[in-house]
Amino acid sequence: SQKIEQNSEALNIQEGKTATLTCNYTNYSPAYLQWYRQDPGRGPVFLLLIRENEKEKRKERLKVTFDTTLKQSLFHITASQPADSATYLCALLLSGGSYIPTFGRGTSLIVHP
């Protein structure tokens, strides 16, 4: 069966460290992968898109990798800050279709001062 797996347990890290979140998938062949941030009581906000032929994408303190062999994306936040505390969702966009995102359940990140 098709699955998108993100760590259900919250990730707790100390301010200034690098946070690494994982998105694994099975029985999907995504053409694109997106990452979103969701704060409590709010809608998700788009952060980054990476294409299947790209290995890595960066935006300010954010870095995303995409390994289609391992079927995994890693999302890194360097020099993390308490304001980075939120839930981070990955979403797959499949080729040959409508490119509508299929979301994982998200991982909660808590950055301690």
Binding site: Y32, G43, P44, L89, S95, S98, P101, F103, R105
Partner: protein, 116 residues
């Protein structure tokens, strides 16, 4: 200016009632969506409209009926509400479905529906 707005923010109602949620986007996008996020935070697509035409209708009970009067609006009407309909409903929009490069989703603030 709010890009994607939804009303109401909270909706508390009795089982069996009919209710509507309204959504408007001022981004000029061609495509609009309804998502449901359950208590376990799983965000699942319900419907997608492209230029007022229904293109995606996931396995959603036919008690749920979307209506798009124009490209900027996508409303959700729910008949005979059930306890299991309690969730947060998000409206979203995107530029279009031609390519994943254009399908960044812009979400509204959500409507928390509680069915008693």
């Amino acid at each position: 200016d709010t890009a994607v707005s939804q009303t109401p923010k909270y909706l508390v109602t009795q089982m069996g009632n009919d209710k509507s949620i309204k959504c408007e986007q001022n981004l000029g996008h061609d495509t609009m969506y309804w998502y449901k996020q359950d208590s376990k935070k799983f965000l699942k697509i319900m419907f997608s409209y492209n230029n007022k035409e229904l293109i995606i209708n996931e396995t959603v009970p036919n008690r749920f009926s979307p209506k798009s009067p124009d490209k900027a609006h996508l409303n959700l009407h729910i008949n005979s509400l059930e306890l299991g309909d309690s969730a947060v409903y998000f409206c979203a929009s995107s530029q279009g479905l031609r390519s994943g490069d254009y399908n960044e989703q812009f979400f509204g603030p959500g409507t928390r529906l509680t069915v008693l």
